[in-house]
């Protein structure tokens, strides 16, 4: 290695020195970027712990005298945090279960079964993703709230999100990568396709399963517009909706409105952040990159 380096002419050395400056600038830009992305979250936590809202520059740093958990108590009294989190959880769980069960079935059919119409169904799963939600909200509201009478009902909340099409595509992508021969052998041994799916295919794609669950989770957990339209009773509202209602209606009547609001925001953000940090490697490697390739 050292001999090679000695052999480098002055041109190469100059090029190397020239590369140092852009690398520093690049690092600086990335650092500023990370700060811009993270600071609001840091500030969210700080703000949620302040007894008195301190919006001065010094207020961006924690002051032991001004720290309190009382904002969490306030927001809990206003919108029943446990109840709201539970509603968000039921909403998300319903979507995840439907997506995993039915999404895996279609994904399996699209990847490992030979049938006419397969190309069409796959094209449909892609097409659905570009259908703009804004056109659907009014008819969906009419249908689900008025015709089916599913307003203020978990089912009505879950229904439009029940099967995540992105998850279908990820399932298909992963099933395609499994060795065909294994399935042929099992078929010869007399295993049914359903057995192949549950006993062989699904256990083999466990990392994809994590991705699918995580990706499917953040949709309903963060969703505001649809549950906001469909739930009017506070006992059924997911946290994103009850927090938004607090923000638009109740905030002014609280002593420290920002503190309580930010405390609610922290509760809404923490589960997502924790899950993502735990599974981030799988999440990044798994779905999206495999989707873009080719």
């Amino acid at each position: 290695m050292s001999t090679v380096r000695q052999a480098d002419g002055p041109v190469v050395r100059r090029a190397r020195r020239r590369a140092l400056v852009p690398a520093l600038v690049g690092g600086l830009v990335l650092g500023i970027g990370a700060l811009a992305f993270l600071f609001p979250f840091y500030y969210m936590v700080i703000g949620s712990l302040q007894r008195e809202p301190d919006q001065s520059i010094a207020g961006a740093f924690p002051h032991p005298g001004n720290l309190t958990f009382s904002n969490y108590v306030t927001i809990d009294a206003r919108l029943d945090l446990v109840r709201s989190v539970l509603n968000s959880g039921i909403f998300a769980a319903g979507v995840i279960i439907c997506t995993v069960v039915f999404g895996a079935l279609v994904g399996y059919a699209l990847a490992l079964l030979q049938w006419r119409g397969r190309g069409g169904v796959f094209a449909l799963a892609l097409l659905v993703q570009v259908v703009p939600f804004q056109l659907l909200i009014i008819p969906l509201y009419v249908l689900i709230a008025r015709s089916y009478g599913l307003a203020d009902n978990y089912l009505g909340m879950i229904l439009p999100f029940a099967i995540n099409s992105t998850a279908v595509i990820i399932f298909r992508q992963y099933f395609l990568q499994l060795p065909q021969a294994m399935f042929e052998a099992a078929r010869i041994d007399g295993a049914s396709e359903l057995q192949l799916l549950t006993k062989i295919a699904l256990p083999l794609i466990r990392p994809a399963l994590v991705t699918v669950v995580l990706l499917t989770f953040i949709g309903p957990w963060n969703e505001f517009l649809w549950p906001f339209l469909i739930t009017k009773r506070a006992e059924l509202q997911p946290l994103a909706v009850s927090l938004a209602n607090y923000l638009t209606n109740v905030a002014n009547s609280t002593a420290n409105p920002f503190g309580a609001l930010l405390a609610g925001a922290v509760v809404l953000v923490v589960p997502v952040v924790v899950l993502f940090v735990i599974f981030q490697r799988q999440f990044v490697n798994a779905d999206l990159s495999s989707g873009v390739k080719e």
Binding site: Y43, P132, L143
Partner: protein, 314 residues
């Protein structure tokens, strides 16, 4: 459902079919349809039927009734459309969303491209940087709106840092700054996803192109402009289209950040108008017409981005 959170992950997977052994003569497995049945029913129920229903409603004087009650809902032709197009509030909302897109889309493309390329070459703290970039994308708008209100209100820390440069009235209650502030918020919030898209696309840029450029004495900047950007063109088209669709869907941010599209409707988006007219005022036919117009606009813009940014390949 194609919301801003889930839709983008479509990322144009390989449309090419896996090698098919179904060519003529080989039997078609009926289980294919059976396994797909729940999904197809779901699509029919939640996408296809409402889509048709929306178009139908937009041509009728539609109003809400209790379930099971039938009332005449007369066909009114293009009345809803002409009413929408001549309504100053609707026009204003379309201008607003145009302002939004003019700020949000270029900013999204440039920032995500630059940050993704830098991140791709970064040696240290890669995982940390990645997580911090994705964080806003993964979290709920409702939660981060809370912090932005805290940051950007009249006495907020942003104005304190800016001192005399701070606008008066403050950002979100200032007619001129409300929409740009929302555009900035949405850019910040969505950037992580687009960085992810570009990062994935960067893995596929042929390495020998860079080597060739380096041999020819190209600087890093030159090889970025002449190798990276052209190679990423398909990803850029995707980013453009997804940013346009997400922008056209704008609702939560003006609803919460500017208290329902204020001040004076300066940040009211078309979807917000649809909500106010369709559900609050009980005129779903009118709202559906606005929706159809919005979708037509979105499709035209997406087509144009594909046409002009997609360029040579197609």
């Amino acid at each position: 459902m194609a919301t801003s959170t889930t839709a983008p992950a479509a990322v144009a997977p390989s449309v090419r079919e896996p090698r098919s052994r179904t060519r003529r003569g080989v039997r078609s497995n009926p289980l294919g349809w059976i396994f797909s049945a729940p999904y197809l029913v779901f699509i029919a129920l939640v996408f296809a039927y409402p889509l048709g229903f929306a178009v139908y409603m937009s041509f009728h004087d539609y109003f809400f009734t209790a379930p099971g009650v039938t009332v005449p809902r007369p066909f009114v032709g293009l009345e809803n459309y002409t009413a929408a197009l001549t309504d100053p509030a609707v026009r204003q909302s379309f201008v607003n969303v145009a302002v939004f897109l003019v700020i949000n889309v270029p900013l999204t493309v440039v920032l995500s491209l630059v940050l993704a390329s830098l991140l791709d070459r970064a040696v240290h703290a890669k995982a940390f940087l990645r997580v911090s970039f994705y964080l806003p994308y993964l979290t709920s708008s409702v939660a981060v709106v809370g912090v932005w209100l805290f940051l950007f209100n009249g006495g907020g820390i942003v104005n304190r840092v800016l001192g005399p440069l701070a606008p008066d009235p403050s950002w979100l209650v200032n007619e001129r700054w409300a929409m740009p502030s929302i555009a900035l918020f949405v850019t910040w919030k969505g950037l992580g996803f687009y960085i992810l898209l570009y990062l994935a696309a960067l893995q596929n840029v042929a390495k020998d192109l860079y080597e060739a450029a380096a041999t020819d004495g190209a600087s890093r900047w030159q090889s970025f402009v002449n190798v990276t950007i052209p190679s990423l063109r398909p990803a850029t088209v995707l980013v453009l289209i997804l940013a346009i669709i997400t922008g056209a869907n704008l609702f939560t941010e003006p609803y919460l950040l500017t208290g329902g599209g204020g001040p004076n409707g300066a940040s009211r988006s078309p979807v917000l108008v649809m909500y106010q007219e369709g559900i609050e005022q009980g005129q779903p036919g009118y709202a559906a017409a606005i929706g159809v117009l919005l979708v037509i606009g979105t499709l035209v813009l997406s087509y144009l981005s594909n046409r002009f940014a997609g360029g040579r390949e197609s």
